[in-house]
Amino acid sequence: MSVLEVRDLHVRVDDQNEHKEILKGVDLTMKTGEIHAVMGPNGTGKSTLSGTIMGNPRYQVTSGDILLDGVSLLDKPVDERARAGLFLAMQYPAEIVGVTNAEFMRAAINARRPDDDPISVRQFIKELDHNLALLDMSEGMAERYLNQGFSGGEKKRNEILQLLMIKPTFAILDEIDSGLDIDAMKVVAKGVNSMRGAAFGSLIITHYQRLLDYIKPDVVHVMMGGRVVKSGDADLARKLEDEGYTGLRDELGLDIQLTDEN
């Protein structure tokens, strides 16, 4: 079993000459075998949390820690964290011309293996074909340049394809459902569910209860104002859907401005 711990995490972004504290003490612990969901209003720091866990250099950790199996990740660059078992399906994946999807996934798999023991072409193709079929993707997608000209939904599916090929220990999925039609959402959920098991944990950031109907979470966290303000079981997400964030904020007696009220 593996454990990913976020302890009293404070994060700042430096935007020109403005220093903005975005995360103000996030605590969160997850284990393999569990699926956690994070919900919260726009601009509250969910993507900041996922990017900071992954090691995006634009986020500055000012205090607190991120630990994988008790070892701090803070001084490790993003590629080392990835090889240590983390994966982040991004809200806005980059497009890269000249590198095919298949070639990229093979490089990512081999980055986790010893130099003298790369995955065989046969094995790779077998897994690729299996996962393409699982996600209802055409074989042509693997030969296209990485995300180049992919539609919004295709990019999301492609993030899940990478997840299935790389098989990380912990996967953070940042709004993997945004912009997906209902069928595509089911397909993506099928992909994530196929990873479920004792050796895999996931943190799913979403705005919609619907995704959680297909991927049932063990724990739901609500983030507001740069903190986790409440955690609970799957019912918490349903309650939020009914009452909205304002209701929860008032119930908890929090003094937080939500972006959509004036």
Binding site: M54, G55, N56, P57, P77, V78, D79, A82, R83, F87, L88, M90, P93, A94, E95, I96, V97, G98, V99, F104, A107, A108, A111, R112, Y145, Q162, I166
Partner: protein
């Protein structure tokens, strides 16, 4: 102005011409160039200061090889086999030249049937004097244009003629492997004269390579003449190690078309003069080049396409990468002269700098003397895209590998132009090697 001492004497040069049974008119032109070059100005290339480079070093003949005559009278003299000839039996047409020796020519049945000529520079003068009289140093690369051109004319000590008769159509590419030893003290003043007759069609795959770096200079001139309606794809991968001047100049008659795809993967300092004159109406030139500068080398690449004829179309695309303390300057010159109505001149020049000490420039220069035209340019000097790097590294790829993949995409424009898979693979491998070397050098320095 710096005084230039002629590199040889008129008498020595006369002996050289006689030994090579040179055409009288060319021997006379040599003497004229020898007298003229020290006084002629060096050509100027924007932002490329190469004036103090050792571009005039070396002897007419190789040092150690005093007993081995370079004369072309003995056509049977075998050329030492090149290390890279493994694929020779699959390549239908292959021309190999080691230093300035008599080339080894192996023409395909197709090329032979269509009367294609590929010959040693000196032998060709004897067999095709009319081609030399008409095209050598006259149209594409004027013999006395400036100090570097005239020096070449005086010193040219070997090369090739390639002639495609009118109507010849080669379906398979013609491969040129031109190798310079580099460390034998011999000035490498190599000349390629390529004449593509009316409506001929061919693909050239050229590689230029220096085996071991040395102090002798290289002054290489390629002149390409495309007669009316000729279509030429010209791919070249250059891996030169000595200080080099490289002129690659084409002259296009009506409706001729040239597609350049060049990989400047040199390891030494180089100044280039890439030039295409679109003289005939309706002629077209598409020029694509990629370059990588590493270590402390300087690559100054100037590409000039000039629209003279009506309805001419000229495109330049140059992408380059710089590591360590190296310099890479791209000048793209698009010139539309008065009267070249309904012409088009477009260009894009971009460089990526991969270290803080890298120096790079991308200068688009548009000179438009006619109103009824279309012209445009884009240029940038930048760093590797951070979000692309982050994305690739977030999947576990090391920084160096991620960087190489992003760069491969950036250089992909030329790679996709290369018509033969083996040549594409060769350029990809060369790019990979240069980048790995450059990254190693940089990562050590940091």
């Amino acid at each position: 102005m710096v005084r230039v001492k002629p590199f040889t004497t008129a008498a020595e040069l006369a002996t050289f011409s006689a030994d090579h049974h040179e055409m009288a008119s060319l021997a006379a032109l040599r003497q004229q160039a020898l007298a003229a070059y020290p006084q002629l100005p060096l050509p100027t290339f924007e932002k490329i200061r190469y004036q103090r480079w050792p571009l005039f070093n070396g002897n007419l003949a190789p040092e150690q090889a005093a007993n081995q005559t370079v004369t072309s009278t003995s056509m049977s003299a075998p050329v030492a086999p090149l290390a890279t000839t493994g694929a020779a039996d699959q390549e239908p047409a292959m021309i190999q030249q080691l230093d300035l020796q008599v080339p080894r020519v192996q023409l395909s049945a197709e090329a032979q049937a269509q009367g294609v000529v590929a010959l040693d520079f000196f032998q060709a003068q004897r067999e095709y004097p009319e081609l030399f009289a008409k095209y050598y140093g006259t149209l594409a690369a004027p013999a006395l244009a400036n100090r570097l051109a005239a020096f070449h004319t005086a010193a040219v000590n070997g090369g090739l003629l390639i002639y495609l008769p009118a109507g010849a159509k080669l379906t398979a590419p013609l491969t040129l492997e031109l190798t310079q030893s580099g460390d034998n003290g011999q000035l490498y003043a190599q000349h390629l004269l390529l004449v593509a007759g009316e409506n001929s069609e061919a693909t050239i795959l050229a590689t230029r390579h220096t085996t071991t770096a040395g102090s002798a200079s290289a002054n290489i001139v390629e002149e390409l003449i495309l007669e009316q309606g000729a279509q030429l794809r010209y791919t070249a991968i250059d891996g030169l190690k000595n200080t080099t001047y490289l002129a690659r100049r084409a002259y296009l008659f009506a409706d001729a078309r040239i597609d350049w795809a060049l990989g400047e993967m040199n390891d030494g300092d180089i100044v280039t003069d890439f030039n295409t004159d679109l003289v005939g109406n309706g002629s077209q030139a598409d020029f694509k080049a990629v370059a990588i500068s590493t270590g402390s080398q300087f690559q100054g690449i100037t590409t000039r396409l000039t629209n003279y004829g009506l309805h001419t179309v000229a495109n330049i695309l140059q992408h380059g990468v710089i590591l360590s303390d190296a310099t890479l300057t791209f000048n793209g010159v698009g010139h539309i002269v008065k009267g070249a109505r309904d012409s088009d001149s477009q260009q894009e020049n971009r460089v990526l700098m991969l270290s803080r000490t890298a120096r790079g420039d991308a200068n688009p220069i548009l000179l438009i003397d006619e109103n009824d035209v279309r012209a445009g340019h884009a240029a940038s000097v930048g760093r590797v895209n951070e979000s692309q790097m982050y994305y690739l590294m977030s999947r576990g790829l090391s920084k160096d590998l991620a960087e190489r993949l992003v760069i491969r995409g950036f250089l992909g424009s030329v790679l996709t132009e290369i018509p033969v898979a083996a040549a594409r693979a060769a350029l990809t491998a060369t790019i990979e090697r240069k980048l790995i070397d450059g990254q190693r050098h940089r990562d050590r320095a940091q």
